[in-house]
């Protein structure tokens, strides 16, 4: 049977190729932690493979039994499909910051998921320990560790009631993607006033004290750091 190259099929193939390339780029450029949690990392590979397969399938089947003209509306649809992929690739990776921290759920007490079902780990108290104890309403379990020194990396926000030399250190916990991020926060005291800007990433070392519904860290050392390769905490 005589067949012709179909312009619409080829164009659809290009759109599929763009999305496949986007997933491969996200993997190759180590951007997976910006979009996926450890639980859902496999989706990046799944997207790359399925879209590549679909693209190849579309291109090898791009010859049609009769001529198929391409319309402007079809082109517009494909542009709508391709634009978000192009934006993901062309814009630098970003992580949720102070804007999201002010708007997302950060329940101060009550109960939440158990990350490992135990109390704080035996080593230094970590973000995950504080996260679990805060959300499970068991911050008092940290009382035995009050005064111990730990280090935490997070981004800076400020609340209206904070005194000079105080700020909030924040991280987000994700289950699948930043769309489901839950907020956790420490109150840092003893910091040099006005040295830090909102959304700066810092590593704070200091003594921890659970006070009421929050954890206060009396900073002994504070250093500015780059945003971590894994900006979000997850349950792993």
């Amino acid at each position: 049977m005589r067949t012709n190259w179909s312009a619409p099929r080829l164009a659809t193939g290009v759109a599929l190729a763009t999305w496949a390339a986007t997933f491969w780029f996200v993997i190759a450029d180590d951007r997976v932690p910006y979009y996926f949690s450890a639980r859902t990392t496999w989706l990046a590979a799944a997207g790359a493979v399925t879209l590549t397969a679909a693209c190849v399938a579309r291109l090898v089947s791009a010859r049609a039994p009769r001529a198929e003209p391409i319309t402007w509306k079809h082109v517009r649809t494909l542009v709508v499909l391709v634009l978000p992929a192009a934006a993901i690739v062309s814009l630098p990776p970003a992580a949720l910051g102070s804007f999201a921290a002010a708007r997302r759920s950060g329940a101060p007490n009550g109960t939440y998921l158990s990350i490992d079902g135990r109390g704080p780990s035996d080593g230094d108290v970590s973000w995950l320990d504080i996260f679990e104890l805060t959300y499970s309403g068991r911050l008092e379990h940290l009382a035995a560790r009050a005064g111990e020194t730990s280090s935490f990396t997070g981004f800076v926000t400020r609340s209206s009631g904070d005194a000079a030399g105080e700020f909030r250190l924040n991280r987000f916990m994700i289950s699948c993607c930043p769309g489901d991020a839950v907020h956790i926060q420490l109150r840092i005291v003893g910091a040099p006033p006005d040295r830090l800007q909102t959304d700066d990433w810092v590593r704070v070392t200091g003594r921890i004290y659970p006070i009421g519904e929050e954890v206060v860290v009396d900073a002994t050392k504070l250093e500015r750091v780059d945003r971590p390769e894994h900006p979000y905490l997850d349950t792993r």
Binding site: P8, T50, S61, S175
Partner: protein
């Protein structure tokens, strides 16, 4: 001559109607965009940080959903191309009252979330499965599949409401999916959205699926292509057709997450029915994957068990991005039916379980 005039006139009217429809849709979207920008400006949210927040949520929702849609499209293409018609004929011979519960039970075996189940349901209807059964499967699978049950268990591990949450979610999801199936009934005509010729071209159906001989509700023109090509046509068709609505839905969800602070929902947490309705609205707005939503629901500790359960039952069946996918896939009125039935079952069911558990 008169005969020719008659044959030309209807397509011209259709084209005019399609053009008017296109203009109306264009204005509708323009109005939505303007309203959104005005809302952002009015709330002081139109800042670089807001745009960045929107971009992060939008990108991550899309990157999560696209592979799942593609996996659903693969399954749909297999159903549409390689599964013999006799299988669906045999299924169709089963008593209709039996088909709906069986479809819901089948949801246990389909471990993808809601985005992937829509193209599968569409293809099942196209192959002759009664719409009520296909829709029941589509709504049940995202709640009843093993991964979702496991993630719900992990999210509530160590809490005394673990079993009410897990079993309540399974039970209410099962009942709500079947209820929608029963309300829809066995009607076959016009259940899938009939796509205009112009729209077919734009969506990729004309080039990608037309001629596939799949029996779908589009204008198949009878290309005699090999089966593997029909498979490719179906796959690419689902990508182009579902993809654009997925993008719209993800944009709306990201915009809602950017504009609406979650704290405003906390003020009604203690009001019994309002709390449940609030969490349903929140589930709609957040458009979370059913495999992760339990972790988020569990974080809303200011809400009781009932509202959290409502969040977990309503969200996987109806959210912002699903609304676009449903509207693009099924006939007019389907969306309203799903919203009404699932909302009633969710509210009644969660209240009942709250009373039961105390």
């Amino acid at each position: 001559m008169a005969e020719r005039a008659l044959s030309i006139s209807p397509p011209a009217e259709i084209a005019k109607s399609a053009a008017n429809d296109g203009i109306r849709k264009g204005w509708a979207w323009f109005s939505v965009a303007v309203t959104f920008v005005v809302a952002l400006a009015a709330t002081g949210s139109f800042t670089g940080a807001a745009v960045s927040n929107f971009r992060i949520i939008f990108s991550s929702l899309l990157l999560q959903a696209v592979p799942l849609v593609m996996m659903g499209a693969f399954v749909a293409a297999v159903i549409g191309t390689f599964v013999p018609s006799s299988v669906f004929t045999r299924l169709g011979r089963l008593p209709e009252p039996l088909q709906i519960p069986m479809a819901a039970v089948a949801g246990f075996a389909f471990p993808v979330c809601e985005c992937g189940s829509v193209p599968v349901a569409r293809r099942l209807v196209a192959r002759g499965v009664i719409p009520s059964a296909a829709v029941t499967f589509m709504l049940a699978a995202p709640i009843l599949n093993p991964i979702v049950i496991a993630s719900t268990s992990i999210a509530y591990r160590g809490r005394d409401i673990l079993w009410p949450m897990v079993l309540g979610r399974i039970g209410l999801g099962f009942v709500a999916a079947m209820a929608v199936g029963w309300v829809i009934g066995p009607r076959r005509d016009d259940f899938l959205r009939r796509v205009s010729t112009e729209d077919l071209s734009a969506s990729g159906y004309r080039d990608d699926v037309a001629g596939c001989g799949c029996g779908d509700a589009h204008d198949c023109d009878g290309y005699d292509e090999p089966r593997w090509k029909k498979f490719c046509n179906s796959l690419a068709g689902d990508f182009t057709y579902m993809g654009r609505f997925l993008i719209l839905g993800a944009a709306v969800a990201a915009a809602l997450q950017t504009v609406v602070p979650q704290s405003i929902f906390g003020s009604v947490a203690d009001t019994p029915i309002v709390g449940i309705l609030t969490m349903m609205v929140l589930a709609f707005a957040l458009s979370l994957c059913s495999e992760s939503d339990a972790f988020v629901a569990a974080s809303f500790v200011q809400f009781g068990m009932g509202p959290q359960l409502a969040f977990l039952v309503f969200g996987p069946m109806m959210d912002a991005k699903l609304a676009f996918l449903y509207n693009a896939t099924f006939s007019k009125g389907f969306l309203k039916t799903v919203v009404a039935v699932v909302a009633v079952v969710t509210v009644a069911g969660t209240l009942w379980i709250e009373v039961l558990v105390g």
